[in-house]
Symmetry: C2
Subunit: 305 residues, 2 copies
């Protein structure tokens, strides 16, 4: 957990940043994957797991599987950045590629699961994965005490579902607020309509981890109950927040991970002054070149206070 | 204090990274400045302080002075990066510039001190500054227990003098090892000759914080007693270490701050396997553009484990 005097001054709040960028495999995804794999039977572990992801979930499952000594097959688009496939293989996983314009990754995953008897580890739409991801907030409130407001990024909704429940177990009146990219605000729209909405197009945003077009089947009912609201931020807001975290906190955060801080810095989170605000900074996996090109051109102040 | 499984595997050691990049004003310099200013009499505080620095010491003194409600005058070269002067002014200090090709900053500082009755806060050559800087290692051993080896960057020698004494107060047999840039190895040479050596030229290195040409008068006797050795690293070693800390620890560290990790990663620190090794990561003040240009072009693995 990191704090920043500058962030506190800017918001009037007492902000606690739970740095999941420091988590194993670089994001909160490890929590859900490990949690799910830990519940497998010895027979299931002998056969292995399968997951589809081009992002943080891939490495999280690969690492969790290697720790539990079970085989992992990860389904990735063939045009995913080579270093992602490499990193996943480095954890001992088998990478199966597909053409994302003509093939459906869920079908491929299910086919592999059926054919080889593998256990599918979903990225969010699974109760055990949601509970595992919620341990990020559980640790936050265990270490720092209950919070008045909890802010997390929203993709399929697993992180905020689990974290919201964990934070509210410590303080039932914790306000749970999600953050989505403007172009990928499926959960915000779904909450407004009271049902799961699917966006017409795949969201275009630098927050690759949040580019989901519809809320999860299992996560949405939980989030409909407990979310106060979902705030949308632009790509420019995300870059501002990444630069702020670079300059003022000296940490590397990926675009998705900066969502909560972006929402706070734009002043769009209501009633935070004088409150204890927990923010899940969900991950730090961003290639050096990309990070450099995103934050470059900014004048960094020479220090933090 | 951060740890990294990858760093532990690479070295065989248990490495504890004391992140002074997270310190107020972004480097360990705040500790010495605050410590020195705290000892001033009410009469001295009414008059103020003066310091000469174009780097981290400038902001550290400006911030410490503002906290103790005393005026600060910082002497800086007129060609220092504008954001450094700005950051220093933002802490409430007066910035006095000089031409570093024709004027001597120590003389200007002394002149201001005499003329205005200001207290000079030296960057390292002062017992109270050394002691204050040593609290970095004191906190490390208080939080994590004694270490077998302590590694810190060496500039004027204040940090390693104070930190070495603090680490050895917890474990008298702690081996204290310094790191200098290859082109600025004045302390290494001085230790070899048994007397303070001055380099012929001002060191050229990306580690601006370590570009000192001779050890301090007060620091050197302390360091001659307690240092096992000083290891020299190249600019390329420093960039490798910055990239490692970016990729594996998701933190932003300035070139000087990466010196200890650079020494470890090059394998030049003897007998670390199986040992508890404390490393002072001294600061994180590096402008975004510079950081980007230094680490850019590298393939970042997609995660940490």
């Amino acid at each position: 957990v990191l704090t920043s005097r500058t962030l506190d001054r800017a918001t009037g709040a007492s902000v606690l940043l739970k740095m999941e960028s420091f988590q194993r495999a670089g994001s909160f995804k490890f929590r859900g994957a490990y949690s799910r794999i830990s519940l497998m039977t010895p027979e299931e572990l002998r056969r292995g797991v399968v997951a589809y992801s081009s992002g943080n979930h891939a490495q999280a499952v690969a690492l969790a599987a290697s720790i539990r000594r079970t085989a992992a097959v990860i389904v990735m688009p063939e045009d995913a950045p080579p270093e992602k496939a490499e990193a996943t293989r480095a954890y001992g996983a088998e990478v199966v590629t597909y053409d994302r314009y003509s093939q459906n990754r869920a079908e491929i995953g299910q086919h592999l699961a059926d054919e080889r008897g593998l256990t599918l580890v979903p990225p969010y739409d699974d109760l055990e994965v949601m509970a595992g991801q919620g341990t990020a907030a559980l640790e936050l409130v265990e270490d720092e005490g209950p919070v008045d407001v909890l802010i997390t990024p929203v993709s399929g909704g697993g992180l905020i579902a689990g974290c919201g429940m964990a934070a509210r177990s410590a303080n039932a009146s914790t306000r749970v607020i999600g953050v989505e990219p403007e172009d990928g605000d499926d959960t915000r729209r779904s909450l407004a309509e009271g049902r799961r909405v699917r966006l017409d197009e795949v969201p275009r945003t630098i927050a690759d981890g949040l580019a989901v077009d519809t809320p999860g089947e299992l996560t949405f009912p939980v989030n409909r109950e407990q979310l106060e609201s979902v705030i949308a931020v632009s790509d420019a807001d995300l870059v501002d927040a990444m630069a702020f975290l670079y300059e003022r906190c000296k940490v590397v955060v990926e675009p998705s991970g900066a969502a909560g801080v972006a929402a706070l810095l734009t002043g769009r989170v209501p009633h935070v002054a004088g409150r204890r605000v927990g923010v899940i900074v969900s991950g730090g996996n961003v290639a050096a070149d990309r990070f450099a090109s995103l934050i470059s051109g900014r004048t960094a102040p020479a220090g933090l206070d």
